[in-house]
């Protein structure tokens, strides 16, 4: 009896490990930037290229930095949700227009609606690298002190918004 108990125990352990391993998403790389100050940048604004924006301008506010591009297909997936959020005034959303062409980006916003307070232009993707961007869209929740509190890789879903982003933003506002 004891003879069979050991292999059975090892088998169950192995199944447990495999079950956990198979349910992990290897595409989701945990960002080392969560809990760290948002990297600084100084970039031109999409609609007013002579104006510049730095993240310090948003000090004292809890806000979302959404990395997007007109060539990005999954950005279209989350876009209606962002537009709805901006209509309700839930959180200020700023856009980081990543490796895009100015006219394409503006046309895209005209077509699908512009949920952003403003978008900044990261034409060569350098700021994207500073933020550890590897797949667009990506969204960062940044608190009043300018610290990144949450990172969403891939489109924001209603579930992620309601279960993670909004409760965290509420808590951070207090």
């Amino acid at each position: 009896m004891k003879r069979f108990l050991w292999p059975l125990a090892i088998f169950i352990l192995l199944v447990g490990f495999l079950a956990v391993g198979l349910n992990l998403n290897p595409r989701e790389v945990p960002s080392p930037l969560v809990g760290k100050p948002a990297p600084a940048f100084d970039l031109p604004v999409l609609h007013q290229p002579d104006k510049r924006f730095v993240p310090a301008d948003m000090r004292g506010k809890v806000w979302l930095l959404n990395v997007w591009a007109s060539w990005c297909v999954s950005c279209r997936e989350e876009h209606p949700l962002l537009v709805e959020m901006s209509k309700k005034g839930v959180l200020p959303i700023l856009g980081l227009n990543y490796k895009d062409k100015g006219e394409d980006a503006q046309r895209w916003l005209k077509q699908f609606g512009n949920p952003y307070q403003l978008s900044v232009v990261d034409a060569d993707g350098r700021i994207g690298i500073d933020y550890g961007v590897y797949g667009v869209p990506e969204t960062y929740l940044i608190d009043a002190e300018g610290v990144i509190r949450f990172k969403q890789i891939g489109p924001i879903t209603p579930a992620v918004l309601e279960q993670k982003i909004l409760p965290l933003a509420m808590a951070l506002r207090k």
């Binding site: 290897p26 790389v29 930037l33």
Partner: protein, 160 residues
């Protein structure tokens, strides 16, 4: 005419040797960048290194490598730059720290456990084999009961 030819050939030789003098430096930096980009994972196509990947981000990151090497940064500083942004995941060889303890030591622990089991099993088997089928007392008893009819020793061994 002949002098001109010699001059041209000589100048060719000089220029080509100059070109050769420049090359080794370039090859060295190229090799360094190549080695660095082989240590780093492409985040987009995760089973390729930066060196092998054609993804656009991999190109951008290779450009970063070039720029930082040109700026005179050390390999350690460049790796640190990548880890700060993309985490340990960007490294093909995970660092040795508390969260990766199981990863690094696990195989050795398993090996040691397997070796212990093997030694224990072998010992148990040898003990079982060494133990005579009949003890000395048993043999005396057999001889007393059966007397001369008791099998001889060689025979006894043979049937065992």
């Amino acid at each position: 005419m002949r002098r001109l030819l010699v001059l041209v050939l000589l100048s060719l030789f000089v220029f080509s040797s100059m070109a050769n003098e420049n090359k080794p430096v370039d090859i060295q930096t190229e090799q360094r960048i190549r080695q660095l980009s082989e240590k780093l994972r492409c985040l987009v196509c995760q089973n390729q290194s930066l060196a092998d990947s054609n993804a656009e981000l991999a190109g951008d990151l290779r450009r970063q490598l070039h720029e930082q090497v040109a700026a005179g940064r050390s390999d350690g500083e460049i790796i640190e730059f990548m880890v700060q942004r993309y985490g340990d995941f960007v490294l093909y060889e995970p660092p040795f720290k508390s969260t990766t303890l199981l990863l690094w030591l696990g195989p050795f622990v398993l090996l040691a456990a397997a070796a212990l089991v093997l030694v224990a099993t072998l010992r148990r088997r040898r003990r079982a084999a060494e133990e005579p089928a009949l003890g000395a007392d048993d043999k005396r008893l057999v001889e007393r009961v059966l007397g001369s009819a008791a099998p001889r020793r060689e025979h006894d061994e043979g049937t065992r």
